[in-house]
């Protein structure tokens, strides 16, 4: 837009702009990352499968690892394919095999690297074709696969790879990284705004950065209101109030709160997703938490079946109230 100072960088998503280029900079999963760091230094990377939920740094780790390992040769010696590339069996046969046979002069101890992102979306035929390629060229080419669930990779491939599991990032880890970005981009913020971003991201770094950027470019200020406007999720404070009101026995208030949310146009799925997250973190008696979660789950199931009416949501609140009354000391 008008701001000419950072117009050149304006178009780059922050996710890309602040993608760590060194393995050491990767946030979270310290065990896995420290190991990759050693591999980046010593070379001789075994075939790897990185498995974990989205936004936890799998792709980043592999890319950083490849670049650190190969240095200036990375351009020639890395083949990256992801789900958006055509990865049918022919590609595996041709592209990957051709790459494996390609001559690249590398210092001893280094290997060409084939990166297959989102490998769980590869057809099993393509994975089958990969199986032998992996073995034959193991002395010149190593494979790194990233996927969400390792069980979707066929067994022969799992057998040829070491599996490294990534788990969701903790709030602190995300916060740390957000602070770095906020500082570098000079984003004006209030702490509650960052808190809101972390809440909406739910352990997903990519989403956190995207939400931050969206909020910034939309409102130029990161506070709670703006974040939830941008992410278009029900404000957790409203939802939290509802839960509190139910616990306090103010059923009518809770219902009108729900009505308010519903009238704002949030889809029942969104409301219930937020509700579930709130309940998960709400400090209440164990029995109540269990019952609330159970009922939320059932309500979610009904909504998934297409019964997403206001009545269902109110019914859910009523069930909460019932559970509360059952448990309350007389």
């Amino acid at each position: 837009m008008a701001s000419s100072s950072h117009s050149s960088n304006y178009d780059i998503p922050w996710v890309e702009k602040y993608r760590p280029s060194k393995v050491a900079d990767i946030v979270g999963n310290p065990d896995a990352v420290s190991r990759l760091q050693v591999i980046a230094r010593d070379g001789n990377m075994p075939n790897l499968i990185l498995a974990g939920p989205p936004g936890t740094g799998k792709t980043t780790s592999i890319l950083a690892l490849a670049h650190e390992l190969l240095g200036p040769n990375a351009k020639e010696a890395v083949l990256e394919l992801n789900a958006s590339d055509d990865r049918g069996i022919d590609v595996v046969r041709n592209k990957i095999k051709m790459f494996a046979q390609k001559k690249v002069t590398l210092p001893p101890g280094q290997h060409k690297i084939v990166i297959l992102d989102e490998a769980d979306s590869m057809t099993s035929g393509a994975q089958q074709a990969l199986r032998r390629t992996m073995e034959i060229y193991s002395n010149s080419t190593r494979f790194a696969l990233a996927c969400n669930t390792s069980s979707k990779i066929i067994e022969p491939i799992q057998s040829r790879c070491a599996i490294v599991r990534f788990s969701r990032l903790s709030d602190q880890e995300i916060l740390g990284r957000l602070m770095v970005v906020v500082g570098a981009e000079q984003v004006p913020y209030v702490p509650e705004g960052l808190e809101a971003i972390i809440f909406t991201a739910d352990g997903d770094m990519r989403q956190a950065l995207n939400n931050l950027q969206a909020t910034y470019s939309g409102f130029h200020f990161v506070n709670q209101e703006n974040v939830f406007k941008v992410c278009d999720q029900p404000h957790p404070l409203h939802v939290k109030n509802m839960v509190r009101q139910v616990l306090e026995g103010k059923f009518d208030e809770a219902c009108s709160g729900m009505k308010h949310l519903y009238d704002l146009g949030y889809s029942p799925t969104d409301i219930i997703t937020t509700l579930f997250r709130i309940i998960k973190n709400y400090d209440m008696a164990e029995y109540l938490k269990l019952e609330f979660m159970k009922e939320t789950g059932f309500a979610h199931m009904r909504i998934c079946d297409g019964v997403g009416s206001y009545l269902q949501l109110c019914g859910l609140l009523a069930k909460f109230a019932l559970a509360r009354d059952t448990a309350r000391a007389a």
Binding site: V38, N94, L290, R328
Partner: protein
């Protein structure tokens, strides 16, 4: 041994491939080059272009052990020369840039981790074929099946070298790329699909045997043909072609041949490839191929192997950690070794520059140990292992012993006596679960299987609570049955709700945990009936195709209740009559499955129809 390799029939798909294999280890290429030249020349003059009987270079260099050593020696000298200047190089062994799986490939029968009996079985089978002159044996094909990584191909390789036999492999040829294709069309060479090439190859070897190389030796070494990488088939026609080609091979080949087929878990039985392979294997067996199935490798053998590697690599891994790795790999030794390689990449090596840092690493040992313990839960094919720790926590249900006042919420919402619980002695269950990479379905199944052991015998009410919550969680998961978890936002909530309900239900419900003592956590048997039902059903469907050439319109239930008993009865009558082979044939192989099937299936039939169709 050297001779064997020299004469081995190796035609490389392309010269580039060969060169490429050397490229990354330039520093040692000089040792290999002179030796390698002879192989590049095509040793089979009769077939100038195709089919390519390509034994891959890299592979064969691993196969014949003595040669490997031969090549290895000068290389070691070389490295010594180098490392001589840098005096220490404590971890010099780990610098050899090879995967440990390749580096520690077994070279003798004794080193194999496969069960001795199975090795013996395969070995004696080959011995029989190699010793006797051809002609008097009916079947010359052995089908070896087993899960991935149990050492199928390694066994064959080792046995071949044990007998000094030449091992000829079918390797999928390099694919034709478009430019090449265009070039070829100009020169008048027709395009052939990979399946065509495979079929050609099989036909030629079947009819003429493999042509021995030109080098005239006094005694021709015997040949073993190994088919490891079956071509992929898309569609029924291609598959049938492959099948018939292999059937011909089974019936009439003169060479002892090993065909390796990987097994898959039942879980991904929707996968066509797995089904096809299974079908192929059965039909080959029916045609008279000898069958050997390899079991997953036992934990003890894997451990032995791993500790040997550790000794050779001079990396210190405690027994306990080896145990973990061995258990986590699920009988897959290749994966175990790969995991070990990753595992032995210890963060302390970061500090291990060219100068000696032994003292430093000693100091850090405690830290590293803690780190290692954490990491050990990170990998392994068997996701359930890391789950065990979390499950143990949930099942043992450790609580604070007294009421902490701070726990009650500030606004004094008091919970009735029988609904209140002491606070948990662990992190929030969701957090524990997340760290253990627990998926909702296995967690629920495991809890269901094991929770009763942990509830004290008198607490009937507790059991009632727990199972009602578990059933709720099962209901929440019902839409995912038979599906692997997907990371979809909507499903995600359901999944985590189900997991939370299951875990918290167990924690809450089990208010009188039985006194802590040691329990083994069992694998869930909850869905075994369903699984075997599906399996049987597939079997029936397949059989129906064999029996009626796919033209039958009868339902599965009809087959199970009417046709099968009749066939069985017929078989009893017809035993001894070769004429009825068609009938007996399909019956004989599935004899035992029939027995069980007819019982199970009649009961389950109604459900089947709903679920499957």
């Amino acid at each position: 041994m050297r001779k064997i390799r020299d004469s081995s029939l190796m035609i490389l798909s392309s010269d580039e491939e060969d060169d490429c294999d050397y490229k990354p280890n330039l520093h040692r290429s000089y040792t290999k080059k002179p030796k390698s030249r002879p192989f590049i020349t095509r040793t089979n003059p009769r077939q100038p272009k195709k089919p390519r009987v390509s034994g891959s270079r890299s592979r064969s260099s691993r196969d014949s052990p003595s040669l490997f050593e031969q090549v290895g020696f000068p290389e070691e000298d070389f490295e010594e020369l180098f490392s001589g200047s840098k005096v220490s190089a404590g971890s010099g062994t780990s610098n050899v840039n090879e995967l440990w799986v390749d580096k520690y490939k077994p070279h003798s029968l004794e080193e194999l981790a496969v069960h001795k009996k199975k090795v013996e079985e395969v070995k004696s089978w080959f011995e029989e074929r190699l010793k006797t002159t051809k002609g008097n044996l009916i079947n010359n094909v052995v089908v070896i099946n087993g899960k991935a990584g149990v050492g199928k191909s390694t066994t064959v390789h080792v046995i071949a070298s044990h007998f000094g036999a030449r091992l000829c492999e079918w390797n999928t040829p390099t694919p034709t790329i478009w430019q090449e294709h265009v070039h070829n069309t100009n020169t008048g060479i027709q395009y052939t699909s990979k399946l065509d090439e495979f079929v050609n190859f099989i036909e030629k070897t079947r009819k003429y045997g493999l042509i021995p190389s030109s080098s005239s030796e006094d005694a021709k070494p015997s040949i073993i043909l190994l088919i490891d990488d079956l071509p992929m088939t898309n569609g029924r026609v291609a598959f049938e072609r492959l099948q018939s080609c292999l059937l011909h091979l089974v019936r009439s080949t003169q060479l002892p041949t090993a065909i390796l087929v990987s097994d898959y878990d039942e879980t991904d039985s929707t996968d066509h490839t797995a089904q096809r392979l299974e079908q192929l294997r059965l039909s080959l067996e029916n045609a008279g191929a000898c069958k050997v199935s390899f079991n997953p490798i036992t934990i003890n053998s894997i451990k032995k192997m791993l500790s040997r590697i550790c000794r050779l690599e001079k990396c210190s891994v405690t027994d306990e950690q080896l145990d973990l790795i061995a258990k986590a790999c699920g009988g897959d030794i290749r994966h175990a070794i790969t995991s070990l390689q990753l595992f032995c990449v210890k963060p302390d090596l970061v500090l291990n520059g060219s100068f000696s840092t032994t003292s430093y690493s000693y100091r850090k040992e405690d830290d590293i140990d803690a780190l290692v313990r954490g990491i050990s839960l990170l990998f392994g094919r068997d996701e359930t292992l890391s789950l065990f720790h979390a499950l143990g926590k949930f099942l043992h249900n450790k609580r604070e012993t007294e009421v902490a006042n701070a726990i009650t919420p500030g606004d004094a919402f008091l919970v009735r006596e029988n609904f209140s619980r002491l606070s948990l002695k662990m992190d929030a269950p969701e957090k524990v679960l997340c760290q253990a990479h627990g998926q909702a379905r296995p967690v629920t199944d495991f809890l269901h299987e094991n929770v009763l052991d942990f509830i004290s015998d008198e607490a009937m009410d507790d059991a009632w609570h727990v199972s009602s919550y578990l059933s709720d969680s099962d209901l929440l998961l019902s839409s995912f049955r038979g599906m692997l978890a997907r990371y979809n936002e909507a499903e995600n909530v359901l999944q985590s709700a189900a997991a939370s309900v299951a875990v918290r239900g167990v924690l809450y419900g089990n208010s009188h945990p039985s006194p802590p003592r040691w329990h083994a956590i069992r694998k869930p048997k909850l869905w075994q009936v369903e699984k075997s039902m599906l399996h049987k059903q597939k079997e029936i469907v397949r059989q129906r195709f064999i029996a009626y050439n796919g033209s039958s319109s009868s339902k599965v239930s009809d087959v199970a209740t009417e046709d099968m008993p009749v066939l069985k009865w017929l078989e009893c009558r017809a035993s001894g009559f070769e004429d009825n082979q068609a009938l007996v044939h399909c019956n004989k192989t599935h004899d035992e499955s029939c027995d069980r099937m007819s019982l199970d299936d009649r009961e389950n039939d109604d459900d089947d129809e709903i679920e499957e169709w």
